[in-house]
Subunit: 145 residues, 2 copies
């Protein structure tokens, strides 16, 4: 089942799933709830998850950015797309991303972008939605503070 | 002078500067003010501009994204960095981006990222702040709605 993140998901597979992507760290439960409320109260921030057998096994975030360019347009940013290693290769992340592309379209985004390692380019090129797909468009530059 | 965007800048060079970057379109003044208020009231959204001889000639945006990964970390996203064609090559955009890197650091971001065309990679690699600089880290994938 693909749906939006709920607070109870945080300790029911969501953080464990994120560990398949990168460092998560030891998180203070109160700080975690505070961060959930901050994100959940922002209408431009959507975390979508896949629940399989009562547990979160995949997740991706959509951040909607209002702009001045493109006739006061909006851009969708997909972040932190990940599937728990044990559930990879079943098309779960693809379904979440398609549902976020639908959300971005509904919200009036003229484009949706994401950054990925070069070995994932072909994965994203294969995701089809609305008869279209992602294509590589420039590079990501990173500054580590 | 490098400072945050004010409402009066919208019709004093800001939109004209954005036209050096991409399509802006014919914007309804009331809709434009509404968009300014929406952005200005969001503490995670900073538009920084350069004013030269009383007019805006350069601009870049920083969007701060709160995350669950990296110990409830935050990531800065630099968007829509642009200098009016007549003022390019004077280091103005570099100063704005350095000031946004300082802001991102102050707000606790562990990294700041941006997407750019491949011919601009060397421009961003040369921007120095805090003894560090940007480096290429993966690709940007784009979906056009």
């Amino acid at each position: 089942m693909i749906r939006d993140l709920r607070e109870s998901d945080l300790t029911n597979g969501f953080l464990d799933t994120l560990r398949s992507l990168t460092i998560v760290g030891e998180i203070n439960p109160d700080e975690m709830k505070k961060r959930f409320k901050e994100i959940d109260s922002d209408p431009n921030y959507i975390i979508r998850v896949a629940e399989v057998e009562g547990k979160i096994v995949s997740s991706a975030t959509l951040v909607i950015e209002p702009k001045f360019i493109h006739n006061l347009g909006k851009v969708g940013h997909i972040e932190d797309a990940v599937t728990d290693q044990k559930f990879q290769g079943k098309g779960i992340a693809t379904k979440i991303i398609q549902s976020l592309l639908e959300e971005a379209k509904k919200r009036g985004c003229y484009k949706t972008i994401l950054d990925c390692d070069d070995e994932l380019i072909s994965f994203y090129e294969k995701i089809n939605y609305d008869g279209r797909s992602f294509h590589k468009h420039g590079s990501c530059m990173r500054f580590d503070h």
